[in-house]
Assembly symmetry: C2
Homo-oligomer: 499 residues x 2
């Protein structure tokens, strides 16, 4: 499936990244009417066809099966792997586990046996017609084509890595990080070529995870990031600083505010040329500058895209075309905070929207409530997480922002507690927490999840002070770091209002 969405300019990561800056090519979506699927004729079982069988597609299919025991459900997947855990790829490459099949625990047989769902791998949907509700499918092994029809079509075509159009990008040794095949190819390259140096292009989530794991595997790693800080889509510059320090502390060289001009090498990559003429040795290159939604099929079907370039859906995952739903990384979602569409392709969101799509496909009334874009990663000994808006994003959105950054113990110092830094961003007018960033050696996931939960319910800074969180010395302190942040932030907001 070719893909003509415009690549996102901000370097970022596969599968958990920022809005693609795709140009909208269609008008605002018209909410679809209920798919005809909701009232199938009892004589002919409901035909559900799903394009894409990773997280959202398979979740939707199994949810549909649980709702509709008689539905006729077929998934088409152009790849040979289905239902795989893309987020685990760096840890396979780094050798934290040996068996790549761990990342694809369920094959077509499992879905057939457990759910009576047909999954056709290496089958690409090459065209589709919304009027006749017909798909043309090519068997990539035999090149044979066949047609199929649907009552409900579910687009779960996902997203693909952006490969920037630079000289030498096709040289062997340059890899994206998205599919199981990418994982196997990188692993084989390291085994067979014994590269000593690696350059990771882009410092989003996948870029940093790969940098960590390539360093674990013994390579000398450099990161090239176009913007002047790491993780520009997730962190403000001040919170990116300790992350950069952690990378440097583990020997990763950072080249921030630099662009890649070419990959050098003949039969294999040997170096990266960056602006200013500097040459970084690179026996292996990871391209992790972002992803874009796979919308070619949607466009052919006349399905409207949204302002982010991903497919526009309503809260029930309905597209602008009746009978066609879309789900997972290929759709945009509403921001819980702003109510505006954002594109944050994440595995956790794909699971949620998949479930909604499967329910709605079979006449259910599930709804998706939108996203905060919560994300987390491990970088060596640090956890790094964010939820909601950064300070920079909040200012760009026009909020009158009050922030506080605090570093406090995660748990009793006498039991080995460490320190975690939380930056919280609030709206001066309402006191509402708009976002938070958390960095530290432990307790990061807990704090970001509590903050994401609080933000979901519209919590103010004052609300944080009152949370009755669990205290015992092995786990926390009597006043949690979240309480401290809430107290100071609430005081700053009160003062800002007086002033």
């Amino acid at each position: 499936m070719t893909d003509d969405a415009v690549a996102q300019p901000t370097p970022d990561r596969t599968n958990r990244t920022d809005d693609a800056a795709a140009e909208p090519t269609h008008a605002e979506p018209t909410p679809a009417t209920e798919p005809t699927a909701t009232e199938p004729s009892p004589a002919s079982p409901l035909r559900i066809r799903v394009v894409g069988a990773v997280a959202a597609g398979t979740t939707a299919a199994t949810k549909a099966r649980r709702n509709a025991p008689d539905a006729d459900i077929v998934l088409y997947e152009r790849d040979k792997d289905i239902s795989y855990v893309g987020c685990g790829i760096p840890y396979f490459v780094g050798g934290e586990f040996e068996d790549v099949t761990t990342l694809r625990p369920r094959g077509p047989e499992w879905f057939a046996e457990k759910y009576r769902i047909t999954v056709r791998t290496r089958h690409e949907v090459v065209s589709a017609d919304a009027n006749t509700r017909t798909l043309t499918v090519r068997d990539l092994e035999t090149s044979e084509e066949s047609t199929d029809t649907w009552d409900v079509l579910l687009l779960a075509t996902g997203a693909s890595p952006v490969i920037p159009p630079i000289d030498g990008v096709g040289t062997p040794g340059v890899f994206p990080v998205r599919s199981i095949q990418d994982a196997v190819a990188i692993d084989a390259w390291i085994d067979e070529r014994a590269p000593r140096t690696a350059v990771v292009v882009g410092s989003g989530f996948i870029g940093l995870e790969m940098a960590e794991q390539l360093a674990h595997r013994g390579l000398a790693v450099s990161i090239v990031e176009m913007l002047p800080q790491v993780m520009p889509a997730a962190l403000d510059a001040d919170m990116a600083e300790p992350v950069a320090e952690e990378l440097r502390r583990h020997g990763v060289e950072l080249h921030l505010g630099r662009t890649v001009e070419a990959v050098e090498g003949d039969d294999a990559a040997t170096a990266i040329l960056v602006d200013g003429g500097e040459r970084l040795p690179a026996d292996l290159v990871i391209m992790s500058v972002g992803v874009r939604p796979n919308v070619a099929l949607a466009k052919q079907l006349g399905v409207a895209l949204g302002p982010t370039g991903a497919i526009a859906v309503d809260t029930r995952m309905r597209t602008s075309v009746p009978g066609i739903l879309a789900t997972g990384d290929v759709v945009e979602n509403l921001s819980v905070l702003t109510g505006e569409p954002i594109w944050r392709p994440l595995g956790s969101t794909a699971n949620k929207t998949g479930r909604v799509a499967g329910d709605v496909a079979t006449g259910g009334d599930a709804e998706h409530r939108g996203v905060l874009g919560t994300g987390i990663l491990r970088v060596f000994d640090l956890g790094v997480a964010h939820t909601g808006l950064t300070e920079a994003e909040a200012r760009k959105q026009g909020y009158d922002v009050v922030t506080h950054t605090d570093t406090k113990p995660t748990r009793a110092g006498y039991l080995g507690g460490k320190k975690v830094t939380i930056k919280a961003v609030a709206d001066r007018a309402t006191g509402r927490i708009l976002g938070a960033q958390v960095v530290g050696p432990e307790g990061v996931d807990k704090r970001v999840d509590v903050l994401a939960t609080a933000i979901t319910f519209g919590a103010t800074a004052e609300d944080l002070i009152h949370l009755d969180l669990a205290y015992a010395p092995p786990f926390s302190t009597a006043k949690d770091p979240i309480h401290f942040v809430g107290m100071v932030l609430a005081a700053k907001i009160a003062k800002a209002r007086e002033g």
Copy 2:
């Protein structure tokens, strides 16, 4: 200070425990009018007197100082230690750290220097008169008495361990676990007497923490619990089972549903006699059957107690007597869930109510929003936590309860993820989550804090499904255990409504 509240019958733990079953000795409290403190004469600084200088008393005093630079603030504490971390005592006894002063990081000098607050230790307030606003204070070193007056009196007299009136309870080698002196005395007893066996009476939080730590220190430990399960105040019987297993797995003998009849031994404890005539060897006995609020002074002042036997306060920590506030373990709080008074003396709550009292004492308008009674402890390799109501409590309160218990991985199995069990209790009528219990080797604190946060905002089972929690393989799974619990519980509620 003697204390005549009736002891709580349910065995439980010091400082973080269930309602005391004290009989109310006063009528419903009349909300106090604003203390005169709010409008001090500029000529004479506001006189704030605080009785008790552990968590709530010191927090209140420092908050008052920050609000009122000129106030005259004096704390009286009958103990010699102040501002200590009682929850850390088990870990000192167990040898996880060596220096007991770690638990009392700040002495009177610190408060004098940093906050210009006078703390008089070993000074007991032996009587008080609300009409003349006069205190009589005894210096416990010299036995000299003096008087003092207040504009605002703050009662932070805390709670004391219940010592059941059984034969031999005064035998050397029998210890409560509350003060730094208790910690030092137990530690010295172990060093000097080299006890080989210990019996812990009561299986609440402190009891189990002590059992764990005494076992770490090499003693053979038995627990006697009056009720047929461990942690009866915090866990339903089904969730107590894995905790009991963990204790047994580490060699702790459990005697559930048994009562202690006597402590045997002449100059030192040698055994515990339980009902039925069984004799448990006990060179050391820990009495951790619960605590009761220290309300003698409050009663003398005519301050109304609430239905739990602790001091009744409004959300601003005002008692029934104008000019007298109360805070910390000696007060009852409203349940966030039911709006009814409950007594859950916890260090985390003491910090919150101390801050409110200090603010209100100096004319501020802070309010306490009540408690869920969230608690957590470590038992060997397990974390055990609860928030809100147990199933048993919810049924007792009259809720039509729907529950779900689910065991799911905390994070990716291929990175060493383990399994956590969550039991969630919901109200069928509204779908609201009423409480949760969490048990597992990791990730327990995170899940209980997210659930406590969600419950605070009135979350339903359906709301849990939509939480945008942070996902990356080292920290979680794409669908968090909280999402799974929410999904099944929401489905059960929907089904229960249909049925």
